[in-house]
């Protein structure tokens, strides 16, 4: 016999207590606002942070704290607000992530392991949630609102604001050093 995980509903933004209470291995249904950013958008955000002493310019639309989803959707078909939108490999963002955590990102969503420097930057302040790679339609189903935020010229790699409901995720690395990939 095998057992299934029980999913726990969580709503963004998380209180510091909620963030700390989530542990690697917990399954969650996430509701709230998340921002997409992958390779090209990370590069631009990082350059902006470097120019602005580690902070985003005040007029910039990313709130603090914010959740970042490493994803580049397929185009929406007629009648859809978004195409399939599963996660991409998080490791490619590792070089930029500590700076983004410093600037206020406290929930990171993607797939695959993170570098030691990302895990160190997460300590006490951020969570890393694994979305199932390849589950593009399942992830798209939980996306209820889509808004273009920045870099529309990057196409699939632009920054979009999603309002998601009950997005099924697994806590892969928590704020206290727990890490499912480290077994």
């Amino acid at each position: 016999m095998s057992f299934a995980l029980e999913y726990k509903p969580i709503t963004l933004p998380l209180s510091p207590g909620e963030l700390e209470s989530l542990q690697a291995g917990d399954a969650v249904l996430l509701t709230g606002v998340v921002y997409t950013a992958r390779d090209a958008a990370h590069k631009r955000l990082f350059e902006m942070l470097e120019k602005n002493g580690g902070q985003l310019p005040p007029e910039w639309p990313l709130p603090q704290p914010c959740a970042i989803y490493y994803a580049g959707p397929s185009p929406a078909a007629p009648g859809e607000i978004i195409g399939p939108c599963g996660p991409t490999t998080s490791a490619r963002m590792d070089a930029y992530t500590p700076a983004l955590i410093q600037a206020g990102a406290n929930v990171l969503i993607g797939k695959g392991p993170r570098s030691a420097s990302v895990l160190a930057a997460m300590a006490g302040r951020a969570l890393y949630l694994a979305a199932t790679g390849g589950a593009g339609m399942l992830m798209a189903r939980s996306i209820k609102k889509v808004e273009m935020v920045a870099f529309p010229e990057l196409g699939t790699e632009a920054i979009r604001r999603f309002y998601v409901e009950d997005m099924p995720l697994i806590v892969a690395a928590d704020s206290r050093g727990g890490n499912l990939y480290a077994r």
């Binding site: 057992f3 994803a71 959707p73 397929s74 390849g134 589950a135 593009g136 699939t156 990939y181």
Partner: protein, 277 residues
């Protein structure tokens, strides 16, 4: 001599691009279902999500994964067929139409300038001239999460079967979660560097779990699968018994001085669709 119009080939490629991206083959679904029953914890949650996702994609005729890949097109062309028009242009026209009309992601860029070609062309075309008067084509959209984790080893003959097994294990372990496990592992042994690589890629098209008719290859398949699944990497790298759904091995004669081994990693979305004209 049978005549086939290039436009018919383009239409078949278009339809196969959309079908491959949206409807996972039955053997892949069966392997995922079996793995889901055997797993527990996060691994089971991942596999349940994948099965639900595959059903949603099929019902909506929308891609199961947003990375709808680079279109790899295998064409077996009967030598008694005459094509009216250009085969290569027809394949690319089919890919362009399939990716545009199917609302599939266009992920192909120029290699150095990184400029998107806009319609997911060019396809990677593997053409084989065969006997007969029909044309069979298979579209296998290849995502790069797994393609990036593939490797070619030029082993020495002394490294032998054990060397091959080590190369397979090293590739799968270093791919870890990035290749979107549970994976299908295509292994080509022998020939030359590019010969081994193409042989490995062709193994991804075989029905899952059907052992190779070559007893030496079948033995390696069994041994490699058991070692891979003993690593505990599990579905999406979150831990579990199923790191690979299948290992498919084929060999081809090679030079006395060499033992090329290519390992082509394929994510759990082992997508391909075939049309016969």
């Amino acid at each position: 001599m049978r005549i086939i119009q290039a436009a018919a080939i383009a239409q078949a490629v278009r339809d196969a691009c959309i079908e491959a991206c949206c409807a996972l083959p039955a053997d892949v679904l069966a392997a995922l279902t079996q793995a889901e029953a055997a797993e527990e914890g996060p691994g089971k949650a991942v596999l349940s999500q994948l099965l639900e996702n595959a059903a949603l994609a099929r019902a909506a005729c929308r891609p199961c994964c947003q990375d709808t890949g680079m279109a790899v097109v295998f064409v077996d062309l009967g030598q008694d067929v005459q094509i009216v028009g250009s085969l290569e242009a027809a394949v690319n026209a089919g890919v362009s139409a399939g990716y545009r009309e199917g609302y599939l992601r266009k992920s192909v860029v120029s290699a150095l300038g990184r400029k998107n070609t806009g319609d997911n062309t060019p396809a990677v075309l593997h053409l084989r001239l065969v006997e007969g008067d029909s044309l069979e084509l298979t579209v296998a959209p290849k995502g790069f999460g797994s393609e990036n984790m593939s490797r070619v080893y030029m082993l020495t003959p002394a490294q032998g079967e054990e060397g091959v097994l080590r190369a397979i294990l090293e590739t799968v372990v270093s791919a870890g979660a990035c290749a979107c496990p549970p994976c299908v592992v295509g292994v080509g042994i022998g020939s030359t560097m590019e010969g081994a690589a193409l042989l490995a890629k062709r193994q991804l098209l075989r029905p899952l779990g059907q052992p190779s008719p070559d007893p030496e290859a079948a033995r390696l398949e069994r041994e490699a699968l058991s070692r891979i699944n003993a690593t505990g990497i599990g579905p999406m790298g979150l831990g579990g018994k199923t790191t690979a759904l299948a290992v498919h091995v084929a060999q081809s004669p090679t030079h006395i001085a060499g033992l090329p081994v290519a390992i082509n990693m394929q994510c759990h979305a082992c997508r391909h669709a075939t049309r016969r004209l």
